[in-house]
Symmetry: C2
Subunit: 204 residues, 2 copies
């Protein structure tokens, strides 16, 4: 990533502030994933990024603020949601298929499960991931619906997909872990469809 | 709990092996819940149970073995499943209502979320909880079905209910956390019904 560096910057010189900042973020992401929030220190992140700890504080503030800055979804949910427009009436199947495809990438799967793990165990991570999910995933999904139940609908979809991640990817519960994607698309797609567009208040 | 003590045991004397064993289990459960598997030591458990660490090893073996022994569901799933017989055709609604009622007990909710947390973060806990869920919850549910898809059906129910626990109880994702039980029963009951008895292989 050289996006922030001026095109005329000479090569081989001491890295500028943008690449130091990026190196800190990369190190933070890796160490938070590997060791969790609590056991990761600013000092270890600084050392891994080959910068002074004071510079980390200068860039990002506290460890919690650095954690928040380092959180980023390992995929772009709007890409998955965009495909829903092409599948009117079958959005549920399309959404489950899109999410399962995203999980097939080992790097994405790893970062996603690390985020879930952190969120389950650490208060800071929980708040940060909840804000991220709400603003960048479930909020986007709810915005697509013109419905007073939109936030509930999006959260229900979130509950099923988070539960699938928990059982299939993290707990490795069979037969979900070995199941072919299309078996899960057929089984879970109609659930997501109902949460998105169906009757949530049946009087049975 | 004095179940294991002979009825004629004199009061006020040094506790016998059964109550020491129970004290170790109680301490283990509490400390594993509070501090997680990794940060809990045999020494701390022994100290909390007022016994010698050697006795803990003598009773339970390694820390992992003690962890497995200390795992127990904070509720009896067969009680929830038994009520399903009274609700033929509406088992999904009955199951969701039963699980939500179980979660309303603060002590049960706390132990259940502690188990989920441990399972997400620690390999030992993950294997142990998966075995427990498979044998004592999802296995029981699958045994009730006369269907080649029974294990998949039970695991799908598990994925939705685990996801609801994760979002409602642990991540405290709104509007799921504040939602009345009956809102969730109406929204999620039909999902569970379909997983239990519906068509899992629609060709759409």
């Amino acid at each position: 990533m050289t996006a922030g560096r001026p095109p005329s910057a000479p090569r081989g010189r001491r890295p500028g502030p943008d690449s130091s900042k990026q190196a800190v973020l990369d190190a933070a992401r890796r160490l938070f994933s590997e060791n969790g929030f609590e056991r990761t220190t600013i000092r270890a992140i600084a050392s891994s990024a080959a910068v002074d700890p004071a510079l980390v504080h200068h860039f990002f503030g506290t460890k919690e603020q650095l954690f928040r800055a380092s959180l980023e979804l390992p995929f772009d949910p709007s890409e998955v949601f965009l495909t829903l427009d092409d599948h009117r009436g079958a959005e549920g199947v399309a959404l489950v298929r899109g999410v399962l495809a995203v999980w097939r990438e080992p790097a994405v799967r790893e970062q996603f499960t690390a985020m879930l793990r952190a969120a389950v165990t650490h208060e800071h991570a929980r708040t940060a991931l909840r804000d991220l999910l709400t603003s960048q995933v479930l909020g986007l999904l709810a915005d697509r619906m013109d419905d007073e139940d939109a936030p509930l609908r999006a959260a229900l979809v979130g509950s099923q997909m988070a539960g699938l991640a928990l059982t299939r990817l993290i707990m490795e519960l069979e037969p979900l872990t070995s199941a072919d994607d299309e078996v899960l698309v057929a089984a879970i797609g109609p659930t997501v469809q109902r949460y998105l567009t169906g009757d949530l208040h049946p009087t049975a």
